[in-house]
Symmetry: C2
Subunit: 219 residues, 2 copies
DNA sequence: GCCGAACCGTAACGTACGGTACGCTTCCAA
DNA sequence: TTGGAAGCGTACCGTACGTTACGGTTCGGC
């Protein structure tokens, strides 16, 4: 199982200059993928290679720091447990779906996932674990309380929150991420994402909504 | 959009020796990921590097040939349109789900997708397009006739087969592929796959099944 | 038996790139 | 003013690897 903990929010320890360097790495990663060279980073960030090695150790350290830096930036706001009625639940789910689609279709996410996947192949570091931890697992951690709240309010029915979450995940993401990672041109406009979020949410409610007050189904 | 056509079944043009070489590449790819070297391939396949270059042009050509060779091997049997009742439809969908889960969780698929994704980052070749074409799009081409048949028989209700397919895809795959690609240990046993296939099928039928004769729902 | 094609094994070449060393400038702080 | 830390730019080193070259071997055709 992936190691989750550790290095949660070491973004504190980064100076502004270092953050700027990592942003440069991010931009470079988006532009030309994993074959970015230390020389290119140094040139783009207007710093010396020696500084890069002093700050980040080696190339993998730089990549890891970049992934974590990006992760620390997308730390989203926790959902507010206001109403706890169906409208609130629906809005929350649609919000999660929309946010997630925006994330996985962003250039940055695609680039980062690509490099993490490449590295996962040659098990050198745990870049994949970091990405997973700050992506799919972070989403689950944030969404599950909402699902539990929905169940507690009698709006949802499920026995295992993890299973319910994974169904929601599947209904939202479908084939989007793998297609984008493999280079498929798939323009997700704001409107498309909004529509998909609504559809996914409705489908999820159809599957896991409480039978009272909503046509539901299960097996 | 991805170019689909061309090189459909150039596996004819491969000699047995060449196929053996590509199988060696496949094995090597599974074992040590994308950082396989031409020297390693030559050693493993007991052939000379000169031969590799004569046959496949360069490293990318070798990789492309390998991906296509693997793709030509997994050409599955078309589903037989026998009964056209609910049992047949359910069994077909479960079969598709099970097959797909087996594919995406196989070492070979993971390794191939990883290298294709890496290459998609640095848009050198169209490895990603080849993988997509023989993976997700091939699945859609095989499944859609089943969905259409189900609709024609009054068992399914949907307006767009593509949308219905993507929902099915999402319900089946969920987070499995991205987790595996990112290096998450996720053992999919035969039993797990079978259960997931049944669950995904039931959920799909709940969403897209005709309202008559089955508890259905939609928005 | 002989020739050439195909191919194996290996040595060699060139380059790209990770990592290091060093000189120079800037900028505090004593 | 000066010493030193931090950092920039660049030259340099070592190595890994893609690619090429070449000698030796097998084998089918004459």
């Amino acid at each position: 199982m992936l190691q989750a903990n550790a290095d949660i929010d070491n973004s504190e320890a980064l100076t502004e200059r270092q953050k700027a360097v990592l942003d440069a790495v991010l931009r470079l990663l988006v532009e030309e993928g994993d074959q970015l060279t230390m020389t290119a980073v140094a040139r783009r960030a207007s710093c010396s290679k020696e500084t890069l090695y002093k700050w980040f150790g080696d190339r993998d350290g730089l990549l890891t720091a970049t992934v974590q830096w990006q992760a620390s930036k997308v730390r989203v706001v926790p959902v507010d447990g206001k109403g706890l009625d169906l409208a609130w639940l629906t809005a929350s789910l649609e919000g999660f779906a929309s946010d997630w689609l925006k994330v996985i279709s962003s250039d940055t996410s695609i680039a980062l996932n690509r490099v993490a996947i490449s590295h996962a192949g040659s098990g050198k570091d745990n870049l994949g674990a970091v990405v997973l931890e700050n992506g799919r697992f972070a989403l689950a951690r944030r969404l599950k309380p909402v699902l539990e709240a929905g169940r507690h309010a009698g709006l949802l029915e499920f026995t295992d929150a993890e299973t319910a979450f994974r169904s929601f995940f599947g209904l939202v993401a479908r084939d989007v991420q793998i297609r984008l990672l493999l280079g498929d041109r798939l323009e997700l406009t704001e409107a498309t994402i909004g529509g998909d979020a609504v559809r996914a949410t409705q489908q999820f409610l159809a599957l896991y909504g409480a039978k009272t007050g909503r046509k539901a189904s299960d097996s």
